[in-house]
């Protein structure tokens, strides 16, 4: 019994304790509408945390995801306002995101820039473009099609949660059942071995960042649907939540040691933490602070565990 208990990852314990804590001390935390609420709000975060897992596994990070999501959302909204069809606008959002992802990849892999400065710079560029396009204002009047899709339910399950689940399934397949996934582990774990094996590691490395950008574009679809407007700074900080979710979920910062299910648990933990604090009327500003504290605590625990 003791041995199987030890195999349960720490994040699961953390999540369980948070759920119990908030159920006890927060009114209506454990109610069905609230739990669905958490699910909805976490869906977009999961879309970012999935590619972030891959990026962190290859010893990188992407600080630009939130800004890119915002820009994609702005582009999406503007096209809709302009009368374009939803599929066209959606494709454009995906395109914008992917473009930024590729740019990140090229800077980090081809040029050799440290990931944090490359993606920090791209954050500025993405946010800057969004600001110029919108003059700092929301883009409203996108019609009811997109919000309608977002609000729809299929077999009682909200659309966002379904998309998140589908995304998870896709990434799970990608990471654990395809060649690309194998190479993600290899780029992080022993890049030279991969090159020696004759694989063009650089190409796959750039692809990982491109996927990150693509998912940011996908996230824009959901966020714009939820907010009914496109706003340039709506997603600022989401990349941080995504990184927290990934790290807390057990993916290490080196050696290609990643655990995708952990990122899901991490996303749920972040969602539960934020929602629970909300229910307990803790101001959102302190929520942000607590998320920052969370990652530091997680890394602390990790380093202690590693020593034993």
């Amino acid at each position: 019994m003791a041995r199987s208990l030890r195999r349960i990852p720490g994040i699961a314990w953390l999540l369980a304790s948070l759920v119990i804590f908030f159920s006890v001390f927060g009114t209506r935390f454990a109610s069905a509408p609230n739990l669905i609420n958490i699910g909805n709000q976490s869906s977009i975060l999961l879309l970012l945390a999935l590619p972030m897992t891959l990026i962190v596994m290859t010893e990188g990070l992407d600080l630009s995801m939130g800004a890119v999501l915002g820009l994609s959302g702005v582009v999406l909204a503007m096209l809709l306002v302009n009368g374009n069809a939803l599929p066209v606008a959606f494709a454009a959002a995906l395109g914008v995101g992917t473009l930024f992802g590729i740019a990140n990849g090229v800077l980090v892999v081809a040029l050799g820039m440290p990931p944090f400065v490359a993606t920090l710079g791209m954050l500025g560029v993405a946010q800057g473009i969004a600001l110029v396009l919108t003059d700092g204002q929301s883009v409203a009047g996108i019609g009811s099609a997109l919000p309608g899709i977002y609000a729809s339910r299929w077999l009682g399950i909200p659309f966002a949660i379904l998309i998140a689940a589908a995304a998870y399934a896709a990434f799970h397949f990608l990471l654990y059942h395809t060649r690309i996934g194998t190479y993600v582990f290899a780029i992080g774990g022993n890049r030279e071995a991969l090159i020696l094996a004759g694989v063009p590691a650089d190409r796959y490395h750039v692809l990982i960042y491109a996927i990150g950008g693509l998912m940011a574009g996908a996230g824009a679809f959901l966020l714009t649907g939820r907010m009914s407007v496109g706003h340039p700074t709506a997603a600022i900080g989401m990349e941080f939540d995504a990184m927290v979710a990934v790290i807390v979920g057990g993916t290490k910062l080196a050696r290609g040691d990643g655990w995708l299910p952990g990122s899901v648990l991490g996303v749920m933990t972040v969602g539960v933490l934020k929602n629970g604090l909300n229910v307990m009327a803790v101001p959102s500003s302190l929520q942000i602070a607590s998320i920052g504290l969370l990652v530091i605590v997680a890394l602390l625990i990790d380093s202690f565990r590693g020593k034993s």
Binding site: F116, A118, L120, G121, V125, A126, G128, L286, A289, G292
Partner: protein, 309 residues
């Protein structure tokens, strides 16, 4: 010609271009404005330069500035004393700096993660503490720090000069300064040469924090109001200034005078955009592009050097 000379030439070139493009540039008022803006960025960039020299990074300086400004504001309002306000702001900055230093040296967190997490924690605390309010209306003598003059020179510019002098003395004329360069150039060699790497790293992060606090006080004095998040847009310009000034992200190379020139170049570009009535919305974009260019040149130079070694 040293790289600093090239950069100074760049400043002159930029100035010439702007002077030719618009009449509004070459006025005393505008030039003082440019210097005042640059001084704020430089105060922030000075501490950051020390951190980057040690091959580290401090992403929390913007948040630090904001919280320190708010702490100073609250302290002045509640005690009526300017000195206590200034002390509070500096203490706040210093505390955040020490916390960063401890996270990085004792917990061995990579600097970008430690300071990035700190950024969000500090913002969170800032927003929570201010609860959406703005504190405004400060005593005249305090506001002098931001908008006053001494011998015809804006006080922030004097502070910038003082900071440059003190900082340059520190980096060039003290053993601590040389140790920091050594740590940035090769941390293991520095350790094996008997340099107490951990305590020096805590020192640089603390200094960065203090400078952020100082910048916050100057900002507060200039704006005459404090609200949460005011430091947010200053992080990218600060990093850009450091990089433009020739300090390498990889550590061991760079200077404070370079950061000052970098701050001036950046401010000239933004000022020029203003004067040419290019919308302020373009500023984050231009800053981001400049940052990428500077970082790209830094990385390319390093790659080229390594291939020759």
């Amino acid at each position: 010609m040293s790289s600093l000379t090239y950069r100074l030439l760049g400043v002159l070139l930029l100035g010439a271009v702007l002077a030719l493009s618009t009449d509004a540039f070459l006025t005393v008022g505008n030039l003082l404005n440019v210097l005042r803006q640059a001084s704020l960025i430089f105060l922030l960039a000075s501490g950051l330069t020390l951190v980057i020299l040690s091959a580290g990074l401090d992403l929390s300086i913007g948040a630090n500035l904001g919280l320190s400004a708010c702490m100073a504001a609250a302290a002045i309002k509640s005690t009526g004393s300017i000195s206590i306000g200034i002390a509070a702001g500096l203490a706040c900055g210093m505390t955040i700096g020490i916390a960063n230093g401890l996270l990085i040296t004792t917990l061995r967190l990579p600097p970008f993660i430690a300071t990035y997490g700190m950024l969000w924690m500090v913002y969170g605390i800032n927003y929570w503490a201010m609860a959406g309010n703005t504190i405004y209306g400060f005593p005249e003598s305090f506001r002098e720090i931001g908008s006053g003059y001494l011998l015809g020179i804006p006080i922030p510019v004097l502070l910038m000069a003082a900071c440059l002098i003190v900082g340059s003395v520190f980096t060039r004329y003290t053993t601590w300064g040389h140790e920091i360069y050594a740590i940035g150039a090769n941390p293991e060699v520095a350790r094996l040469s008997g340099i107490p790497v951990r305590s020096r790293l805590i020192m640089v992060y603390t200094l960065s924090g203090v400078m952020s606090g100082l910048a916050g006080i100057v900002y507060l004095a200039r704006l005459n109001s404090a609200e949460a998040g005011i430091g947010e847009p200053l992080l990218l310009p600060a990093i850009a200034a450091v990089l433009i000034g020739g300090t390498s992200l990889f550590g061991g190379v760079g200077s404070l005078s370079g950061a000052l020139v970098g701050a001036v170049i950046l401010t000239l570009v933004l000022n020029g955009m203003n004067l040419l009535t290019i919308s302020g919305n373009w500023q984050p974009l231009i800053t981001g592009v400049i940052l990428l260019l500077a970082a790209g040149i830094d990385t390319a130079a390093r790659n080229w050097n390594e291939s020759r070694a």
